[in-house]
Amino acid sequence: SRDRFKIAFEQIRDHFRSMFRKLFGGGRADIVLENPDEILESGIEIVAQPPGKELQVISLMSGGEKSLTAIALLMSIFQSKPAPFAIMDEVDAALDEANNDRFNRIIREFVTQSQFIVITHSKWTMNIADRLYGVTMQEPGVSTRVSVKLGGANVA
């Protein structure tokens, strides 16, 4: 069980180090066991250095950088232990266009292994969907599904 965690941890760590560089276009990041001797109890620390910047506490990162780092870590866990589907509710809210585009590319890379359900207000994210559902309230307080016409996306 100790070994099982160690193996999974190292695998996620491996994925995270390259996923971060992919999403940030460089830089470096790591996950570290706070207490390597107490592997079954140890907390996990995140270290991140965006390209061109110095290594600092992650709290100093910007809103968008934090979102992107969290996405990198989540996708690394997902890569390590795939699930049939993933649901993401407005995870792109803090991303600018360039970072939203990088996030989109990563999602598209994963579509062979899983289905993605993405809730978003971002037209950039909408553009990479294979189908789009609109949810509106035509009658006050009552949700309905409607079809959406948008650029390249298929509609449903």
Binding site: E34, L73, D89, D130, V135, G141
Partner: protein
């Protein structure tokens, strides 16, 4: 296995029954503020066994039942059904299609169904064990929670890793 469809009826703002069909790849859900998009996420969590009303933004589980609007009366029952394709038998059952349902009555009575048969949450959890599908999964990221992984303390963060391990 893969996800085929979710059907939401009487749950939160979905007074009328609404289906969402899912295919391969990316399904986007869009629409104005307050119209029900995140309620779809809550429906997923709820039907898969979420026990905490707070985690569904409510105060008590009865908050999950459509409680009326200026144009409709409150519903007496909330129901969500989720359907999976199981042709690859990744779920340990002989059914080619697996449907999980959850109902909640205003009286407080609630039930789970597995392919229309009464089931215990325990059975449903066992069925989905090790598939990555479930309530605590790292595969559901709620609105405003994406930074959570960074903000949580190292020990809280550990919980997500334990599930992935």
């Amino acid at each position: 296995m893969f996800l085929k469809r979710i059907t939401i009826a009487g749950f939160k703002s979905f007074c009328d029954r609404v289906d969402f069909e899912f295919g391969p790849g990316v399904t986007g859900i869009v629409g104005p503020n307050g119209c029900g998009k995140s309620n779809v996420v809550d429906a997923f969590k709820w039907v898969l066994g979420e026990q905490s009303a707070r985690s569904l933004r409510g105060r008590q589980m009865i908050d999950m039942i459509f409680n009326g609007s200026s144009s409709r009366r409150a519903s007496s029952i909330a129901q969500v059904d989720i359907v999976f394709d199981n042709q690859d038998r990744s779920l340990p059952t002989d059914f080619e299609e697996v449907t999980v349902s959850r109902k909640l009555y205003r009286s407080g009575e609630s039930e789970y169904l597995l392919n229309q048969q009464a089931a215990r949450l325990k059975d449903i959890r066992e069925l989905f064990m090790d598939t990555g599908v479930g309530v605590d999964s790292y595969s559901v990221i709620e609105q405003g929670r994406v930074d959570g992984l960074l903000q949580s303390n190292p020990v809280e963060r550990r919980i997500i890793f334990d599930e992935a391990a």
